[in-house]
Amino acid sequence: MDIHEYQAKEILARFGVGIPQGALAYSPEQAAYRAREIGGEGWVVKAQVHAGGRGKAGGIRVCKNDVEILDATNRMFGQRLITHQTGPEGRGIYRVYVEAAVPIAREIYLGFVLDRSSQRIMIVASNEGGMEIEDISATRPDSIIRATVEPAAGLPEFQAREIAFKLGIEAGLTQAMVRTLQGCYRAFRDLDATMVEINPLVVTSDHRILALDAKMTFDTNALFRHPQIAELRDKSQEDPRESLAADRGLNYVGLAGNIGCIVNGAGLAMATMDTIKLAGGEPANFLDIGGGATPERCARAFNLVTSDSNVQAILVNIFAGINRCDWVAEGVVHALRETPVNMPVVVRLAGTNVEEGQKILAQSGLPLIRATTLAEAAERVVQAWKADVAGNQRVFA
């Protein structure tokens, strides 16, 4: 789960990480007021969206006075910010963070990730702050410092000092850097983050170490024990199809194609998408109905996929182990009876109770196309989709 920059800064500040003075605004007037409260002679106005690359897209503006702040925020509020990370639909700007401009002497990259090779929390740091980590990795790989943290001990001071020395942090600021590193690590550990990224972490000309930007991502599997983090979720930053799915307990990722997929098991779901592509179609979504799916859950999944206006054909691919083919068949039949659809539906069933499932489908009287293997199912759905689309075009011609 992602959170906004201002929320990440609030959290990290509580753990002892230095941040510039800043405040949230919900309107241009409020933004100007915040700047006056903060004081000083320069401010940075930042669109709060769940995406990087805001600067290049006009989502970060340096302002010297009220007029500039009002102008910058007027342009931001209500707009969709499109960055190289958001896709063409962009992200809606509903909050803006006003921050005191700080005199920057140096920019550092600092990240904390779950390293799957060592199965530890890993610290990644570089003096090439301000650049994206992929670019630093590509152009200045020798500048990257990596350190894994021993889970039985936490991040001891000597290890944090080592990183500070490697970064060439000036002697008077070593302790501040240690506090920053330990603060980030503890926030990561205590709140079950999967990523903390401060890019850039700056050394100011007046000898402070401050996080100029902050991103935190949290482990969705751990939200059950962090209700105050779960509270920070912002649906305005999510694909509405995915919010709908998540709220109904369905594992769903929206894509751009027109063949809707309903599958059990993430690996099989990915393989189904791959097979559709191989057969000449484009998947509209990834959807894993999980194990032990009830007819009601299957119906919900079906309705979710058909509610996507991009979808022009549907493939249900089930290999039941802990699931049951008869339950899936019941769910599909129920969904189609309640909300008939005007598009080809292909169902492939295999595994537990496959005969019962096939019987339910056959006896339903619904115009379902049945398949026995994954390859056959993908072939059939793509062919049926092409024929259906072509047929519709002929009707209109």
Binding site: L114, R189, T220, A222, G267, M270, D274, L278, L374
Partner: protein, 292 residues
Amino acid sequence: MSILLDASTRVMVQGITGRMAQFHTRDMVRYGTNVVAGVVPGKGGETVDGIPVFDTVKEAVAETGAEASLVFVPPPSAADSIMEAADGGIRYCVCITDGIPAQDMIRVKRYMLRYPRERRMVLTGPNCAGTISPGKALLGIMPSHIYLQGNVGIVGRSGTLGYEAAAQLKELGLGVSTSVGIGGDPINGSSFRDILELFADDPETQAVCLIGEIGGPQETEAAAYIRDHFKKPVVAYIAGLTAPKGRTMGHAGAFISAFGESASEKVEILSASGVRVAENPSVIGTTIASVL
């Protein structure tokens, strides 16, 4: 594969009184697995289908000699159950649970290192379908009727894709020696390499089918091991060729975050290491047949 699981292995089920656990324990017993105990704190003294339930792993081990454990416990306490198994003398543990926080698994792996190698528990999962040695024993939730007993080892992150592979093999009259699910989580008990090392020493296994997906370094690690040490033929299928970068595709571990973690990169690296990569999931069986 007698190293992980065979007909005589004494198995306990942690969380046995749960609805799903009872359903699958029955399936396992029907298959011939030697289930000797259940562990549910606070339910010691009860029985499930005649199987005695204990409050702690240590008691269960002392009373029944249980050596392996199936953890069927919800996410908030699953890591704790795994650690209890490690501490209680269990040699092999399978954790089915989907949804364990990643840092809990970091702590579990660290905890397991507390014990010297000879005493250390082997863990597969979490978030997996389990392990089956067809004709001998089942420690998990897979539909046992799709497996023929034979000489192909299967190791994979995805349960249902594993079923596809087994079913396709059965269609061709080919059987499985052991199928091991390593699960879909980013921090897991055993890697592809760990299981390949076991298959290397197993006289019953003549070839291995490796089922991978996007995210994580373990397919690449396996490729290097196969290239330098593994003598038996390996066929692989990597799911997620069409998965977008930066999105979590179902499994918590199915997330492309770095170089070398996309499906196409993994396919390249595996092919370069001498692995035959099936070009689509429907030809996994025939590709395996071609290398036997």
